[in-house]
Subunit: 247 residues, 2 copies
């Protein structure tokens, strides 16, 4: 009982930090960076941080811990599998759209793509995420995948899921840091430089700290073995195609 | 047996990646950034990346996995505890010296301290590392700490150890990215800008990728339960002060 209360307190903290991340990244880009458009301007770029933080960190993190919610344990696993896969597909679509935003912006403004360390780590993270989703779909949702393959893939899937979140956070922090050095320069439109910590810098730095805090809470939930969904013992487990999956 | 072979292959990979990180960060700062000095110049700053990558990532990561080496399992734990604590103390001293390098450089050149997101995450990581070392020393090496306290502290110590490595990597990647944007500007001493990916950029980006790979291998070793040092069952465990610790 105490474990369940601790879980829900941690879960609420995760939801609160996630919502704060989305609010802060949107507020930063709307109020300080000029808002949003899809026209090749700076406003086009602004979709990049918003979609990456919302999709690849907040939505991804929440999707990763779906099975850890004790409320779902007594129930048929299939709807929660579909929710897990569905949320991650939405997260993947948002991430790819976020990548399109920065590539389009660069191409329109004749800026090279994929030169910074941020972009190298970020593109590897997105590629790993895509592979993870496809492998996860093939192994756990296609009805003809044998249970043996599912059991074999599962530990790697769980571990890689956590690692992709870590890499997303590495990408976000290096990206926010880079953006602030680009955007906050002395004598440009009367803005204070980054080194003088104007309000925008405090806001975006705080966003970075809260992204890290969100990631640590999700990793804490994932690593606590007491919070893992109890699975039937291996000999009780029967191969069930998608349509009849009652595990 | 197969597990032990897999461990040593992974361990060798970890050593190889760690050594590569130290070689690359030293080569970058020696050959491209002008080398080392302690005189307030750019050469003074160059100690910062070298000491942080060597101390807070490579030495730290290797110290974290000392207990995972099967060779040590049949032996008295105390020498390995002292090696773990000693390597981490050396890592902490190198990290603090690396921080002194950047603070001294900033102060000499009238540059503000602790304004970037990189510095916020980095200083929090160093503070957590210091707290972790002091708590670890108090809980596991002071002879008068009761076994009950050790058992209570251990899971948190192991988890926080992994998290500090993740935060160190976040700090390193954002720092290398930031340094390359500072250092590689068009028309400065004839250097190509970062966006043209001159050899220095490829070298330092590769360093970043290898730091991430090193971190993932260490996290893999830490997370594999088969590779954990077998501990005596709780009822066999006896309170032993430091000098007689045979556990």
């Amino acid at each position: 009982m105490r474990n369940i209360v601790t879980f829900y307190v941690t879960y609420l903290m995760c939801l609160f930090l996630g919502i704060t991340c989305v609010v802060l990244v949107s507020h930063w880009n709307y109020s300080y960076r000029g808002g949003f458009a899809w026209d090749g301007s700076n406003k086009h770029f602004n979709w990049h941080p918003v979609l990456m933080v919302t999709g690849m960190v907040v939505l991804y993190g929440n999707a990763a811990i779906v099975y850890r919610v004790p409320l779902t344990w007594g129930q048929n696993k299939l709807p929660w599998k579909l929710l897990h896969a569905g949320l991650l597909l939405l997260s993947l679509i948002m991430s790819v759209t976020g990548l399109c935003a920065v590539f389009d912006y660069h191409n329109t403004n004749h800026i090279n793509n994929l030169y910074s360390l941020h972009s190298w780590i970020g593109i590897c993270t997105a590629a790993l995420f895509t592979a993870q989703w496809v492998i996860g779909f093939t192994a756990f949702l296609l009805p003809w995948t044998p249970m043996g393959v599912r059991s074999l893939v599962k530990p790697g899937h769980v571990w890689m899921g956590a690692i992709i979140l870590v890499l997303s956070i590495v990408s976000c922090i290096s990206g926010i840091n880079e953006k602030l050095f680009f955007a906050l320069k002395a004598n440009t439109n009367g803005t204070l430089p980054y080194s003088m910590l104007p309000p925008e810098a405090v806001l975006a730095n705080s966003l970075g700290v809260i992204i890290v805090a969100f990631g640590l809470v999700v990793l804490k939930i994932l690593s606590n073995q007491v919070w893992q969904r109890p699975e039937p013992a291996e000999d009780e487990e029967v191969y069930r195609p998608l349509a009849y999956d009652g595990s």
